[in-house]
Structure formats: C-alpha cells, structure tokens
Subunit: 359 residues, 4 copies
C-alpha cells in the first residue's frame, strides 16, 4: 500500500507526479446531500497556493481543481468524488542534472532504492508536496461539513525561527484569532510579527537557505466520547495522517514533549463544573484526548516541519553512477519555509480525520 | 474499530480488561517456520513486568503468557498465534470509590462518554497499560525475527526530569550501549545515572507524585528502500502504533521539533561514500526516513510519555452524580514514571511495524 | 492475512487448532449496552453441536463458550469481546497415520504447500470446521441484536440428495416455517421429510460415504437502501464471508444460476404498491439486492456445501514421502452431511454481515 | 466504503458516473518495472467494448483509456496508476422520463433509498456497467503480469439459453480453446455455435427482451499453496470481486451446486502421481481450491449473469411521486445479454485477485 488511506468511513486515494499530466485523488465516504461552498473552498485552497506570498516558491500553478465525479450542482451525491489538477507549468529541465546526484535530505536516494530506476522523481514525482493540493481540497470540504456541525478546525504558524506566535491556549477570543490566522499570508494570530517573518524569509532567500517551522492546530467544539481505545484513537489517526504531509517530522498532543518532563501534579488536568453546568478541565495539557478519546476540551496538537531540503547553497553529495563524492547547488523555485503553506494542509488532514469519526 | 491493528501483513487483536478474567491477543501473519527462543522472550517480557524495579508499581502480576494456538514445539506454524495472561492478583476494591469521581487525566470521563455506564474501568479496564504486556510478547517475537535478519531494535530511557541519557547518535559502540540499556532496571545507557534516577523516584513516591519521560528508539541494520510514500510510510505507521501505548503524547523522528527551528543547511544530511563503498549521510537528522522510506541510516525516534496520571496527591475533580466539585486522593499501586516500563514496549511496537514491512 | 475479517464496523479474529489447547475468537465493534440472552445463545449454539443428531459426528465436544472479556452481567461493554472453547475430547491418534498420505479433497496437501511441514493439521488444525463454533457464537449474538431491530435471519436445509424442502419464497406464514426449521434436527421446514433424511443418512453411514447439501437463507425486515455499490455491496460481503465456512463451494442470490437462463421479461421483478402503501415487487428474483443495495424485499440466498470429504470408503491417494500411489481408508468420526450443521453457521455469518451494515 | 477494494497488495478506487465528465480509477500496488504491452491491452479492452458485436448495445463509446499517472514509456513506475475514460457520447435525454418510475430490477429504487434524491442515475450513474471498462483495463494489465509468470487466466461464455459451450474440464488442448474464445465475438470455444447465438440475440432484439448467461473462468499454471484459510481464501476474494460486476447473481467453484447433490465418493478428487512426478488429482471437482488455498490444479469457477434488466417490453412499475401503479417501456441502447461482454470482465477481476496473492 502507499497512497490509499483507510479511515473507517472515508477512503482517499492520491495519484500523480509533480510534472506528469495531472495529479488527483478520489475520496469515498463523504456524506451525501451536503452542499459545498465553492467560493469558500477556493479561498481555502488559495492558502496553500504557491506564488501567493512574497517569499514562497515562484512556481505559479493555477491549482485549479476539476471535479470529475461525485458532485452535481455543488451537492455531494454519495458516490466517490474524484478531482484532478492538470499540470500546466512544467519545467522539467530544472531537474535534469539531478538524475545521478541525490539531493541531501530529499527522497531521491530512498525512492530509487525502493522503486528502481524507472520512478520519475522530477520535482519530487509522486512524493511532491504538490499532492497536498488534493488533500487540501478534500480537507476543505471536510472542514465545511464539520462547520455545519459547529466544529471548528483551525491552525496557525506557531513558530518560525525565534518568532513565537500566540498560542490557542493563551487566548480568550478564539474566533477572532482564527479569523486573523486564516487571513494573512503567514497564517499567524499575532500580526505584529508579520514584518519580522518577512525579514526572516528575505534573509533566507538571500542566503539561499531555508528553515523549518511548527504548526499548531486545534479542534473546537468536538463533544467528549469521540475516538477509540488502543490502535484507532484520535491521536493514532491524526498522527498517521500528519506524516502524509511531506516534511513533517514530529507531532505532539497537548503538553507533549514538554509535559514529559513535568510532574503528574503539574500536568494533570483537574476537573470542575463550569457556569453552564458542563464538566471541563482547568487546563488542557492532554490536548483534549485521553486514551484515544475526546474529553470535550479542544483537541490541540503541534506538528514539526523540517526545513525545505532544496536549498541553493552548495551541499555535499555523491554521484551514484561514478560512486564518487561531489557537490551540488540546487536550482529551481523552492519555498524558504514549507511550514507556512503547511498550515492549511494540517487543517485539512485534521478535518478529514475528525470527520471520519463522526460519520 | 478499536483494538485491531491492520498492518499490511501482520494483524493484531487485543482484548481484555485489567481486572477481568484474562487479557490477551491474537497476531496473524508472522512468518511460519520461525523458532521462538522462549528464554529470550521471557527476559524481554520481564523488562516491563510490574514489581521488578524498586520504585515501579508493587502490583505483582506473574504476567505469565499462555500460548493458545499458532505455535508448536516453539515453532510458529503460520496460523494465528493467540496468547492470554490470566489475571491472578485482582484487587478491585482499590478502585470502587472512583465510580462517580473521574480521576484527572485518566480515561474515566472520556471512556464513559463513549461507552456508557456499563464499561468496566476498574484498573483502567480495556484501557489499562496491562494490555501492553500482550503487545510486548508479540513485539518480543518480532524482535527475534528481525535479529535473525541482522536488524536490531533498541530503546532506552532518554530523559527523566533533568537526567539526560547518552543518545544513540552520540555513541560509537552501539552494541555495548544496547547491552547496557537492556540490562539495567531503568533501561539507560549511561549507568552513572542509576542512583540519580533512584533519588528522583524515591522523591516522587514520598511526594505521592509522578513524572513523565522520553524514550529514544533506534533500528540498526534496516536497508534503504523500506517503506511507502504518502499514507503508509515508516513514520506514519510507527507513529500510529506508538499512540497505542497508554501515556504517549508525542513522537518525533531524527531532529524532530528541534530540527524545525534549524536552517536547511544545518538540518540537511549530506551524502558521502564510506570506507565500505556504501552511500551514507554524515549526520542523521532525518532519523533514517525520507518520504516515508528508509535511507539506510538507523531509524531514530523519540517518544514522549506523560507523567502517570494516578497520583496520591489530592486533586480536584467532580462528582458526576451530584454534579458538584470535589477532591480526590488516588489510592492503589502506581508507577511513579510509566516511561521506564514503556522503554521495552516502544521496542516491541517498533519491531512489529518494521517486521510488517519486511514480510 | 488469513483469519481476520474486516467489516466496516465489526472485526473478527479467529484462532486455534482443532486438537490444540483451545479455539477462540475476538469480535470488536458490537454495539455496547446490548444485553445478550444466554439461554437463547446456548440454544443457537446447540444447533451446530456435534453429536446432537443421530447421524452427525459422534465426537462429543461440550462446546462450552467461555467469555474472557467484553461482557459483564450479560451486557456488551463495547471493548473487544473474546471467547474461547477449550478442547477436552482430544483423540489425535485417530489422525496419526495420515501424515504422509493427503486425504482426497481435504486441506492436507494444499495447507502443507502453503505453511510447510510444521503446520498442525490433526483434525483439520486451524482449517477445522470446529472454528465455526466461534463464528456461530458471534453470529448468534448478532442475530439477537438484529431481532431487537425486527430483522429476522433464518436458514434451512433446502436440499439434500433428492429431498427438496419448502422454499422461503413459496410460503405464506414465514414465522411458522422459521419456528419449525429452528427446532428440528435437520433444520427443515417441511417436517414430512424427516424420515426420508433419516434414511439417506443411515444409508450413507452404512456405505461409509457422505453427501453435500444446499442451504437457503433469508433476511426478513431489512429496509431498502442498505448496502453499497461496486465492491462492498451486500452480495460481495455475504459471499466473502460464506466461503469462510469449510465446505462451501457456491453461492447464489435470488434466482441465481437458474435466473441466468431466463429472459429479462421472466426474471425482472415488477414493482407495485401494496395494501400498506409500500413499494414492493411482485416476485423476488433479485433476492432482495440490486446493485449491492437492499430493495426492501427479503434478502434471499442459497449456499452449496460439498459432500464431507472424510469418508470411510477406500480412496486413491499418494504417499508424499515415497512419492508413490497408494490407497486410504479414513477413520475417525465424521458427519455424513456437513450441510445439516452448516445451516446455523450460514445464519450466523449472514447475521454478522447484515449487522455490520447497520452499525 | 463503496468503491475501494482492499486487496492485501493491490488497492483499487473506481469513480465516475455513466453520463458524467469521465469515469476512472486508481490502482496502487502493481509491481514496478513491468512493461505494459499496449497493443495487447487495447485488444483486451476491445473485447468488452460496446458496439463491437452485431447485437450488443449500439452506444459507441470510444472507451479510450488515458493514463494520468504511474506509467512512463509503458513501464509501471510503482506509484499509483490512474486512468480515466472521458465520456463523449452523452445522450441523457434517453433517460429523462425515468426519474419517477423506477425500472424493474434496476438500481433506480434501491440507490435512491440509499443516496437520496441527489444521486445521478442517468445511464446507471456510478452503478453503470461502464465502470467495468476501468476494471478491465486494470485486469488486462494484471493478466499480462500473470502471463509473464506463466499463469494464464481465461474465460468463455459457458452458457446462453440452451446453448452450452465446451467446458474447460472437457478439453485436451486448452491453449487452442483459449485462442478461440479470445477471438470471436461471443467468446466461445465451440465456434459451431456462433450462428445459433446470432439467432438467439436476433430474436431477443426483435422481442425487445434480454437473457442472462453463465461465464466459466479458469486459471492455469497457479502453483499449489496460494491463498489463505478462513476469511481470505481464493474463493472468498474471487467471489467478493465477482459481485462487483453489475448483473452477477451467483458464483460456484468446481462442481459447485451440482457437486452439493453428489456423494463424497463421487465428488472427492483422488490424488495420483503424474508422468512428470507431480502430485495431481484425477478430477478437479474442487475447482483447484481447498480450504481457500490452491491445490495446483486449475482454478475453475462459474459466474451467473442475470438477464439485462433494461428491456423494451412493457413492464409494470410505480410512480413514486404520485404513488400509483403504472407501466414502463424502456428506451435506449441495451445489450440483449450482458454476459457476453461480461466474459472479459470476469477474466479481468480474476486476474486482479490472483495477482494480489502473488505480490
């Protein structure tokens, strides 16, 4: 198996290569009769579009989704929904020289070892982050369906270099925060940091370097009792799906790695009865999940994105044909920080996983 | 679904409640004809046994595995292998008072919301960490099979409170390190820290508190090209399985969250040709996995365990019957740090996932 | 994979060998809070018990189910339900001489080719029809749950040799017919044939021969709209599960093979509005399923059981050690017609599949 | 779930509606590096093409497969292979009048009950037999891969009305028979029956009626030991996949329903050692499968297709809007016997299932 994800109800197949004819996907199991707000979906898709920010990759894909099946008059019919995005900005010559010199921390070496010489890795091939456009489309629909059930999924760029955004746990008016992070080019809550990030990226472009970043995502409004014990809990499946996003190297829920160093008396979330006579916890170090099952507090998680591996700086590599050491400078158009566009993809996959439990 | 794990080849079902008749599991898909070294398996199982260390829970389960099927004369036959561990040290009276006052950061509240009033949560019920004994038995067999293919899976207690163990990346003679961490009661490499950990635990017991910890695990000897892109990569499936261990709240591969704050030029792993004419990388910030597929470098990951939620200290909770705020002091026998016994469980689940890819 | 069945909601693992320590199974996904009527379940189980009829196998297993988990005070808790049946009537000496001479139409030869020499095939090993006792237990619970939703699953011995039972489509008072077929030792509706079947079996025992049979099963009360198109329709999954019963060699829905020879104008089921203003069809050649989805008419299917392969008559076989032709007379206790005890197993698996769609 | 098929290694997603933009599918898990003979694939596809015989539907789809991914220079790369067939002969006006009067034995009624009013059922929508074109494309590739392993999958029209074709078990030169049945318009072995079938179809067209048919399929060259016990045997999975073909209502292996009426001494397959010192059976009533596992004899099965439900003859139905009885005459272009074009689809799905076991 590779590109088929098996939720209990929602099944997704992804296909396509970065510089092939088209990329696409099939999603089966969405609830029929649901109307899709296309304008909203376009806006959602735009948040991961290349070329939208000043410092993200200059490759200008139109990223226009074409629905092949499953939807009519914007209503989900119930049979599998298939979408494709045709590739119309193919510049494979950028990549030709790379055939025998695997790029450091890129899939070139590992993928050839698995698939042999015939696999097409131009622009990442099937491993390309471009496939997240399809996941984003599916996740955007899932997010709309969740919203119709008063469940809100929202992510923001929690951290890039030394710049720390406001965290979901630290704010009172989450609605306002979410509106902000959905509407600026870095998906941050504290917009005072916009220019600081501009400068970080400017510097990275100048230095032909890149950086990673951390994305925080929360799910507000999920009732308690959703999930499963042992192998199919919320954490298991959100984690599994998160690692489908290229560049993700870590995930933690609630206090996560920090909580591992705390005392039980510090990390435990004490119960109380709130003003609406509902049982809540005073803190949310559990990230809203205990034993794989939602507690009624917001689901909260952080995802670590590694720095974009494609950098213009000279790096050491090997020539696998001559079996000798050599050096490489990667050309082409690359994001200095994939975590920025990753924010909306995290929202998408979390929406898909959470929706799967509710069907 | 809840307690069935679907690898491509290996399927596992777990069952049982902590204080029921027996816990057990079924594993299907192990390679037939393989001999199981029972002494080795017993030793492996002993590493997670309660009551073995001075400061772990005093509940003395014999944890004796009974094979019901699938094995004859210590040889795996190929049909499903079922094991049970009969419960012979049942003290449910310890838990009786807890029926209406959910323990903070425990599954009581969430599980009742999902399963209703009839679910038996004494001692954690089906959510109990006792079920990891079955996973450990299965993983111990998987580890032996991997060793017959010269693949070594090893974990150690990377961090507890301020005590940092030697890391796998920092050592030359990994074989020696592994021998150490498999043979002391805290599963650490740097045995100079034994007494420091003694003191930490002593203090926790005295304070009726607990702490979390971080476990590092590596897989040595896995060839490049193992894994899958997108949804079924090594990271996806190791992560999914890790969250089946009670108390796990985070996982990272290679440089993980730390790497997210670095530059590409710092975090990328440059290739070179080593003395045996093999392609290696100078560093292993990728944790041996790129795009879901092994790179030939050791697989490396860290898992964050939260502090044991059951603590003797007084905590705030609610009475769900009277819907009023109240306080609770948890009695019973609990580990001050579940991460210690978690080390061998991480080895077990990583062994199971890696073996699944090789069948 | 082999012994794990993946429904959408219900997952089943079976394990055990006919003459091992125990056989058993785990079922996950049954709805929690449901009370199990144990007396009714015992009666259901008794219908497939060996030694209950005059002419079925004389092996007297007590077939006593032991619940290890998932149930308390007869209420399904929601965690996996595990059962075992301990083997207490082991006579492996009956089978010893068979090691090198595969029995005709038995699994001996194929199973050795797959699993190698170590597989234990005494009494059928993991392939034994004894494992259907576990499926029957699980199916008996599923049947009770369906009955609580006013859905009735019922099967009868449609045909043995030249003896044809009354068919479900041909009777008016189905309730009465069902009561009969559940309460006689051949599971037939037309009890006038009891003695004829007695004679057939008497003759078979005398001739050391066996015969096959056909089982008809219907599901009454299933509303229209249940099922799925293409790969996961009712027919796909009922068929898949039916072939899990040892000896099943064919399945047809509605008019099946006979319908294949008819004209469309003969085989089509014309719609009409009945007296209760419901849309029904005048005939039910479709067996209640169109395009994988229920039509509101009774689900109707027939399953073909081959003759018991173990017969006392001399047969030709080979000695795989000396690679020479030889002859064999099979000893041991065997049913002259496995279809008789198969009736209740068909009810069980149909109940499990139908319930899976309704959860 | 609906249109995702989960083999152990091969995963298939189908999508599309008969009169939508395109139909298509994704197949994941085919072995990389395999060259596809496109001419052979075209010829295979042509066998199910509408408009190719004199009496099959006059709808002339070009049925041209467009590969979107997974293949380059005719070599399978290893990432998911996606194909679409664009719809270019859309005549939805043929179907408009049918909106409120469900066609007898058609999916109209059941599908609306499941998916609600929005589902598009023009020309069968997602339920259309047109989707088998995609399965045929995938199966054609699987068949080629099997042939490269010296495994031959072949089907023929075993029976239409009173016309019985030569059976696979009854012939000596199977290679010659296969060549014939692959190369005439009715996929039969005994070409003396060509004109008789012409007449049957001529008569059906004249009478505005249809008929069913039986397809026999064999797999030659599969070694013993392939398959699994209990739930995932060859029979389970071939049966499950067969019912994905619209119109299939029954399946039997080897002697099947006929064998159910025989004695064990008649139906058992006695072993002998053949001239090449291989263990064979004198007969093949088991259809090459015992206990879900291949015996080394040819896999043999028969599939029953119901008569095409769309007939021009007047039929009784109901108007679901006015809830009154009414009559219907179906217009449009329909095969008088879907089993004819079904032959190649059976070959396709059997090839896919068998290949799945061998990967």
């Amino acid at each position: 198996m590779s590109s088929v994800s098996i939720g209990e109800n929602i099944k997704i197949s992804l296909f396509g290569e970065s510089h092939g004819l088209a990329i696409g996907g099939v999603i089966d199991g969405l609830p029929h009769g649901q109307k899709v707000d296309m304008e909203k979906l376009d806006k959602f898709m735009a948040r991961r579009k290349p070329g939208s920010g000043k410092y993200v990759t200059q490759r200008k894909e139109r990223d226009e989704i074409k629905f092949l099946s499953g939807i009519k008059d914007f209503i989900i019919m119930g049979d599998p929904l298939a979408v494709i995005i045709e590739n119309n900005n193919i510049r494979p010559e950028d990549y030709k020289t790379l055939a025998y010199t695997p790029r450091p921390s890129h899939i070139d070496f590992s993928a050839k070892k698995k698939f042999g010489e015939h696999i097409d890795l131009i622009g990442g091939g099937h491993f390309s982050a471009r496939l997240t456009a399809i996941l984003t489309a599916f996740g955007g629909i899932a997010k709309q369906i969740l919203e119709s059930k008063n469940i809100l999924v929202s992510a923001h760029l929690d951290r890039i270099r030394e710049i720390q955004d406001t965290r979901h746990n630290d704010i009172e008016n989450i609605q306002k925060a979410v509106e902000k992070s959905e509407n600026n080019r870095y998906s941050i809550i504290n917009e005072e940091n916009m220019e600081k990030i501009d400068k970080v990226l400017q510097e990275l472009v100048k230095e032909k370097d890149s950086t990673g970043g951390i994305v925080e995502c929360s799910v507000f409004g999920l009732p308690p009792g959703v999930g499963n014990p042992v192998f199919d809990g919320l954490e298991n499946n959100i984690a599994k799906m998160s690692f489908a996003i290229p560049g993700v190297k870590g995930i933690e829920f609630g206090s996560g790695f920090e909580g591992a160093l705390k005392l039980g008396s510090e990390n435990n979330d004490n119960f109380y009865i709130d003003e609406r006579k509902e049982i809540k916890t005073k803190t949310n170090h559990a990230g809203g999940i205990i034993g794989g099952i939602s507690s009624g507090m917001p689901i909260n998680l952080k995802v670590a994105f590694k720095p974009t591996p494609s950098i213009g700086k000279e790096q050491e590599t090997v020539n696998i044909q001559t079996m000798s050491n050599t050096r490489i400078k990667i050309k082409g158009r690359h994001d200095p920080c994939i975590a920025i566009r990753g924010v909306v993809v995290v929202e998408a996959i979390v929406s898909l996983v959470v929706l799967d439990y509710l069907l």
